[in-house]
């Protein structure tokens, strides 16, 4: 059975592995875009009274840096692994709804492009400059985002872009919940699922419960801006604090949406490279679930400075400190997994251990925010920027790179270079600590975030220069990674099915896996099938024809209706809304009625 090739086969693909790769490359490109934005920010701040960019551009840069990294880079990079790895880990031939999966990808791609077009379309809005990019910060606080204070289309691009991306996240969330619950191979009980699959399930539940809240919050903002309602508008009796509540009710589960997949990847890598089962599997799984539950009860710790009163502050302070417990439990379990193992410090493990170390630092500074009096000193200073980067860069990005080095041979059939990988790791580790550790001091010394420059009198000039040097070191490490990818395409060592001697089912398939994944759907009897029962899951050549679903155009057609709808709103062209609705309807109906068999 040969796999179809060519552009059409990629555009119409419903294969989870191809969609995973599409997710990966798209998200990686956005990761680089977000990185370039970060470098511009750091260049501007390298010295006091910098002149690299003006204040308006700076506002756009930090807003788009945060939004891009969170919604267009880190989340979809996690989803790339959900797509590629989860069906393999549970012994399935695809996800439950392959076309819905393609739809998620296309909506994500088009939503990302829509939001980033704002960099170039200023002239269309007579803005007097090229860029009308979002400029209200990644959490877009009302009432700054109201039409009265943000007249141009900048905030509209942000809110409509996020609205489109939300559709993608919701569709993906439903798909993975059902895939994991319903498509497990025989014998793959819930408590035999690999931890990465478990964390995918937990994350998917968070996606389908948290995104409706931000959808409504953004819809309110849209109504305020386009139709003159008063949801966040004081003069009409509305309350801007409502936005903060709704945003953070979504926003804090979102933080766990970002970190849990990385925790899952690390929980796969540590056992493989220490030749030991994960210490306390059950406890690790239940802590993940508990983190997700508790993540719903901590949102107001983002709002201590609003003045919600001592009762609210005390309650949210306590819940925030409590959530450190299941997180700490995981960290101790990871360390105990390494303890007494036959450790092999290959690149994936380096990144996994780097994840643990950096995430501990980020976790500790997080606990300091949990105390309202301390938080009042830290709010809106660089201390918070330091914290978020230790958890999202030191945590999520390190975890995702660990996953890339670990699963690269499975995705491509070739091993990334270890020498380049280790160089990448050390440069990135040193770079991130140079970039983000000084920010703790910069913040405590009083430098506010989101201000485009600072005075030499503040006494933070040297620390800022160090931070900028660190940022460029991270950029160099990324160039090494890209070089590693390019080199591996032709010169990389052929991986074989199971180069790391992993224990979970994805390693039973060939590298890269055949289009049908498993010639025979394996029956599993334990958590670590390739260690405990390699014969029973070993794959032989397929005995007959294995059906794989055909491609479909309609997910792409349906997906393109959404950016059209957003364009009609932002341009005020009503006729375009009818075109968009027609495209959406045709796409959905054709999708519904086309002959399609999984």
């Amino acid at each position: 059975m040969t796999e179809p090739t060519g552009l059409k086969s990629w555009i119409t693909t419903v294969d989870h592995k191809r969609i995973g790769k599409l997710y990966f490359w798209t998200a990686f490109c956005f990761f680089l875009v977000g990185g370039i934005e970060a470098l511009l920010i750091r260049s501007q701040l390298a010295q006091p009274n910098g002149h690299i960019v003006d204040a308006r551009t700076y506002n756009e840069l930090f807003t788009m840096h945060g939004t891009t990294m969170i919604f267009l880079a880190l989340m979809p990079l996690s989803v790339a692994f959900f797509n590629f790895i989860v069906p393999l880990q549970i012994g399935a031939r695809d996800v439950a709804f392959p076309r819905l999966n393609a739809f998620s990808y296309w909506v994500f791609l088009l939503g990302g492009i829509f939001m980033n077009l704002s960099w170039f379309v200023g002239p269309l809005f007579h803005a007097g400059r090229m860029s009308v990019a979002p400029n209200g910060g990644w959490f877009g606080y009302a009432n700054l985002t109201e039409r009265q204070y943000s007249i141009g289309p900048n905030i509209d691009f942000w809110l409509l872009g996020l609205q489109i991306l939300g559709v993608s996240s919701l569709a993906g969330g439903f798909n993975f919940v059902i895939t994991i619950l319903n498509l497990r191979a025989p014998g793959m009980k819930m408590m035999r699922l690999p931890v990465f699959t478990w964390m995918t399930l937990v994350t998917s539940f968070l996606l389908i419960t948290a995104f409706p809240v931000i959808t409504v919050a953004l819809a309110f903002l849209m109504f305020d801006r386009f139709f003159g309602t008063h949801f966040y508008e004081l003069s009409g009796g509305g309350d801007p604090v409502l936005w903060q509540h709704l945003f953070w009710i979504f926003g804090h589960p979102e933080v766990y949406i970002l970190i849990l997949p990385a925790m899952g990847a690390v929980s796969e890598i540590l056992p493989t490279f220490s030749r030991k089962p994960l210490f306390g599997y059950t406890v690790v799984v239940y802590s993940g679930i508990l983190i997700a539950f508790m993540g719903w009860g901590v949102w107001s710790h983002h709002m201590f400075s609003v003045g919600l009163g001592p009762i609210a502050d005390a309650v949210f302070s306590s819940t925030t400190m409590l959530i450190a417990i299941p997180t700490g439990v995981k960290i101790f379990n990871w360390i105990a997994t390494l303890w007494g193992g036959q450790i092999r410090f290959d690149t994936p493990l380096l990144f996994a251990v780097g994840f643990i170390a950096m995430f501990i630092i980020g976790g500790l500074s997080g606990v300091t925010h949990a105390s309202p009096p301390a938080d009042l000193q830290q709010t809106d200073t660089y201390y918070v920027v330091a914290h978020i980067h230790y958890v999202l860069f030191g945590g999520t990005v390190f975890g995702l790179f660990a996953g890339m080095y670990y699963w690269w041979p499975k995705m491509t059939g070739r091993l990334l270079s270890e020498t380049l990988g280790k160089t990448h790791f050390w440069l990135m580790l040193i770079g991130m600590n140079l970039a983000f550790f000084p920010m703790h001091f910069i913040g405590l010394l009083g430098m506010p975030r989101r201000v485009y420059t600072y005075s030499p009198d503040l006494g933070v000039s040297d620390l800022n220069l160090v931070s900028t040097i660190g940022a460029f070191l991270i950029a160099v490490s990324m160039l090494i990674f890209i070089w590693n990818i390019i080199r591996t395409r032709t010169k990389g060592k052929i991986a074989g099915d199971n180069p790391w001697q992993g224990a979970t089912l994805e390693w039973a398939t060939s590298s890269p896996p055949a289009v049908y994944n498993f010639a025979q759907i394996p029956t599993v009897h334990s958590r670590l099938p390739l260690w405990n029962e390699p014969e029973s899951v070993a794959q032989r050549a397929p005995s007959g024809h294995i059906h794989v679903p055909d491609g479909s155009w309609w997910p792409l057609v349906a997906a393109s209706g959404l950016p059209l709808l957003a364009t009609s709103l932002i341009s005020g062209q009503l006729w375009l809304a009818f075109v968009a609705a027609a495209v959406l309807l045709v796409g959905i109906f054709k999708w519904g009625f086309e002959p399609f068999e999984v």
Binding site: V177, L183, I208, T209, V216, A217, H230, W591
Partner: protein, 204 residues
Amino acid sequence: MSHAAATHAAEGHHTSMGLDSRKMAFWAFIGSECLLFATLISTYLIYSHRSLQGPYPQDILNIPFTSFSTFDLLMSSLWMVLALAAVQRNDMKWAKVWLMGTVIGGLIFLLGQVWEFSHFVEHGLTLQRNLFGTTFFVLTGTHGAHVFVGVLWLFTLWVRAMQGKLTSKNAMTVEITGLYWHFVDVIWIIIFTVVYLIQPVYHG
């Protein structure tokens, strides 16, 4: 969500939970929708005493009229149950009747909402007028949009039935449509209770 002919993924396939994947996905979707409406209803309640100027709910809401709409929507849920039962026993003649009945029930509700909205606008209650208008129209409008999608969906099933392409093999499709329809109905009962029956009293 594909709701078409017998072409979908998990139909007839073995699944780990022993349940149809589409049906499970739909329950997950309903769970997600609960949070959507919870956010809308909470906002309505939080803002219920905060309008700076009239018209206030007690000036304008017409409980007898909306009670009729509510009764109509409840009845359409009954027609939906009967439609599913007819499809399951492959009685396509009655399936067509009850499906059309459900569509008409939905349409009557929507017409009622259109009349209600335009009546309110005539009496000075608009989206922009006060917080009551802002929250009322967005909440009930979102619900109305859901009813509209349901009517389109049911109408599609009715057309398929008229074409002879809907049989008892598609019972799961009709069952999922029913899940959606009943969910939209339940949400309306909550909205009717919260918005119409338990009105905040303004002393403007």
